[in-house]
């Protein structure tokens, strides 16, 4: 069978070191292929052992002891042991750290090597998510000798080795024959950067690219589904696509206005119109495939009369004008168009302002100078952002903060789920943002390929089990 594959990705990573940048594009290439962490998150989103064979958690939930796998080697031949773990975690949380998710490591008090295969991690307080967090790309294990060069020449412990980066075009990796686990089935894999949706379609049809794990032109899916050459796999992502609302902006301060908007927006028609049917309705900031998910998607049904009534109640029966900042993604641009048309029906006139990511970050995210914007929050389990004072939603609710505080201190699974459901209800009740839909993972690949992830609980294209069938 064929033993090489070309995978299309949308964005080119700025570099290849997942510990030094937020870009999802980095993880999509290197995570689980080149780099591994102590734990890993599998297709279903559950935590599995990786470089740590096993672990124990102390009673108080503050001490984690990891037993490391033996005989693991980095691609450059050096051994992986406890000192590498200490180095990696200290580097990520240290003063000079440029880790984009430094906050994940904030609860860690100390990391010590008990012996060559045992590491003890002490926390400042119990942190229920710790094992999951250690499975993030930002927490991968690196070797002190090669760490600084990882941006251009990543050296990890994974089943694939980095081989070549043709900037702007592709990144090639090849099988690591000295892998500690079951070796990969593919010999070579190339990640080809195809930014443009049109180009993606063309390259797929021309069979220049074998797979697009995240195909960004949902309008083409019916077409591709009926083509026997391809397999279309719809999975889930961690991306809650929301109409982010500035809760301190004039008019939007008023929960009645926010609720009116929730009733005025026909979310199913957004999924149909913008995403061509791909996506799941949500009612809060939580991924539907998660065990703690509570389906609140029906709370605000599409009801223009109710919406108008709410507007009248808020004293805004004549409507008002507002701005809608749209980042340069298809889903945002398309949803924005429909939302603008929807809200016009309750006399909210939206001025659409397209911005690139730089401007979006500066003006919307940091400057909080916006009314509405549309963005997909792709970090897994990120409901905690609503408790952050400085976050751009400007949602400053004491009750919610207390909820999250309690959640962070809890490690009991059922208790946690309960709290999380409460948090979801709270957000839904306050209609903090417009909760539109959970972004679907629409993967398209050659029908003969097996083993690609259908869902993406973390941003990754794990190729370990991928193979061609005849």
């Amino acid at each position: 069978a064929k033993d090489d594959i070309t995978i299309g990705v949308r964005l080119e990573p700025p570099h290849l070191d997942p510990t030094a940048g937020a870009a999802a594009a980095i993880d999509e290439i290197v995570y689980a292929n080149i780099f591994e962490g102590l734990t890993r998150i599998d297709q279903t989103g559950s935590v599995k052992p990786a470089l740590a064979e096993s672990w124990t958690i102390s009673e108080d939930g503050k001490t984690y002891t990891f037993t490391l796998r033996k005989g693991v080697k980095f691609h450059d031949g050096s051994d992986f042991d406890a000192s590498d773990v200490v180095y990696s975690l200290d580097r990520a949380r240290g003063e000079k750290s440029v880790n984009a998710q430094k906050a994940l490591f904030e609860p860690i008090e100390s990391v010590t090597a008990k012996n060559a295969n045992t590491v003890e991690v002490k926390l400042k307080r119990p942190t229920g998510n710790m094992l999951f967090n250690l499975g993030w790309g930002d927490a991968i294990m690196v070797d002190p000798a090669s760490a600084d060069a990882n941006k251009t020449n990543p050296v990890g412990t994974g089943p694939f080795k980095f081989s070549k980066w043709t900037k702007g075009d592709s990144i090639a990796i090849s099988r690591n024959d000295a892998y500690w686990g079951d070796p990969a089935k593919l010999k070579n894999a190339t990640f080809k950067i195809v930014g443009d949706a049109t180009a993606a379609i063309a390259s797929l049809m021309a069979e220049d690219v074998d797979a697009f794990p995240q195909f960004t032109a949902p309008e083409m899916l019916p077409q591709l589904q009926s083509d026997p050459r391809f397999k279309v796999v719809i999975g889930t992502t961690e991306g809650e696509t929301i109409l982010s609302t500035n809760n301190e902006a004039e008019h939007f301060k008023d929960v009645r206005v926010r609720k009116a908007m929730a009733h005025a927006i026909n979310r199913q028609s957004i999924i149909d119109g913008a995403m061509f049917g791909q996506g799941t309705l949500i009612g809060s900031h939580f991924a539907p495939h998660h065990p703690a998910y509570k389906d609140l998607s029906g709370v605000y049904n599409f009801d223009l009369d109710k919406a108008k009534a709410l507007m009248t109640e808020a004293g805004l029966e004549n409507g008002f004008k507002a701005r809608l900042h749209l980042p340069p993604t298809d889903y945002a641009q398309r949803s924005g168009l429909i939302i603008a048309s929807d809200l016009k029906k309750i006399d909210i006139e939206l001025e659409i302002i397209s911005v690139d990511w730089g401007q979006w970050l500066k003006q919307v995210f940091k400057g909080k100078d916006f009314d509405l914007t549309i963005v997909s929050h792709t970090e897994p389990m990120d409901i905690g952002i609503y408790a952050r004072d400085d976050y751009y939603f400007n949602y400053k609710d004491a009750n919610f903060k207390a909820l999250i505080k309690e959640l962070n201190a809890t490690s009991d699974e059922t208790k946690r789920n309960e709290l999380m459901q409460k948090a979801q209800e709270k957000l839904n009740a306050d209609a903090v943002n417009g909760y539109l839909f959970q972004l679907a993972k629409t993967g398209v690949w050659n029908a003969k390929i097996k083993g690609l992830w259908a869902n993406s609980p973390v941003q990754a294209n794990d190729l370990t089990d991928v193979e061609w069938m005849d």
């Binding site: 700025p14 003063e95 906050a103 941006k151 180009a199």
Partner: protein, 317 residues
């Protein structure tokens, strides 16, 4: 000649310096902080500060400009914010795609346009002329990205003769590389060729009416001989001017065409770099592009002299 070269060099340097100043100034007022873009939305203030230090973004404006200019003279274009590799490497990697592409398109359009223009002029007001004029009108009117779309649809998706885009790299061989560049080059060349053919035609028509053409006929040369031996070279002079001007358009055209064909070229680099606020790369690429345009026009000046003896320095005349 030495003096000439020196003066020309000084003026070239001055123009470039002015250009660099303008570019630097524009880059400075572009909204967006590169450090934030690199680290994403969850980054913390101290991390950002650390990165800013690393990138040298904390220095005062003038000092930054000075550092940039001086190191550029030393051949150091800085390190890309987003790719963390020397900008020079980045550019040279892209250049080996963009430069052949521009050259390919230029050659293609010239090879296509000149004979067509000549033919149309020779058959003025007959069907080859009408045909060519109609086609070139269309060629100018068709947006090149749209044409590119059609090309992909026809030759990559349906016929599968050429790749739909991407670039395998020259190490994959010369032909695969050329094959990848052919469709983009055609899309780029179409409007250029149309304009060029029209210029060639009208320039040839101007020349046809020159007295020396009649002199040539009076010597006993037939029409074709007259056109080729006496007309062509004279007609080329205005064509070359346009060719020089077009180069700049060609470079601009590559931005869009490289996007359509997802070619790893300079145009896409600069486009990406602008949206990612990789300002150091943007600055370098634009300086490079502007320099290219200025240098190309200089070469055009020299070409004039090669073609037209009237522009050469008088020697003992």
């Amino acid at each position: 000649m030495l003096l000439f070269a020196l003066r020309r060099f000084v003026s070239l340097a001055l123009t470039l310096l002015a250009a660099s100043l303008v570019i630097f100034a524009i880059m400075e007022i572009l909204p967006g902080d590169p450090a934030e873009l690199i680290l994403g939305i969850n980054a913390q203030a101290d991390t950002l500060q650390a990165l800013r230090q690393e990138l040298g973004l904390h220095l005062p404006l003038l000092e930054r400009y000075w550092n940039w200019i001086t190191s550029m003279f030393a051949g150091d274009f800085g390190t890309s914010y987003t790719y963390s590799v020397p900008v020079l490497d980045l550019i040279s990697e892209r250049l080996i795609v963009s430069f052949p592409l521009a050259l390919f398109a230029l050659t293609l359009s010239t090879l296509l346009a000149l004979p067509l223009g000549l033919l149309a002029a020779a058959f003025r007001n007959k069907w080859p002329d009408w045909g060519m004029m109609g086609l070139t009108q269309l060629g100018i009117a068709v947006p090149n990205f749209w044409f590119a779309m059609l090309l992909v649809l026809a030759f990559a998706v349906t016929l599968r003769w050429f790749p739909s885009g991407g670039f395998p790299g020259w190490e994959a061989g010369f032909w695969p590389g050329m094959k990848a560049l052919l469709l983009p080059a055609i899309a780029l060349a179409l409007p250029q060729a149309s304009i060029l053919a029209r210029i060639m035609r009208s320039s040839m028509l101007d020349v046809i009416h020159e007295d020396y053409m009649r002199t040539a006929r009076a010597k006993g040369l037939n029409q074709t001989q007259t056109l080729l031996r006496h007309g062509l070279r004279n007609a080329l002079i205005p064509v070359i001017t346009i060719l020089g001007l077009q180069f700049s358009f060609l470079l601009a055209g590559t931005v869009i065409i490289e996007n359509v064909f997802f070619l790893p070229g300079l145009g896409r680099l600069v486009f990406q770099a602008i949206t990612q606020r990789d300002l150091i790369t943007v600055k370098a690429v634009i300086v490079l592009l502007v320099a290219t345009v200025i240098i190309v026009n200089f070469v055009i000046d020299l070409t004039y002299a090669a073609i037209d003896p009237r522009l050469r320095k008088k020697k003992g005349a």
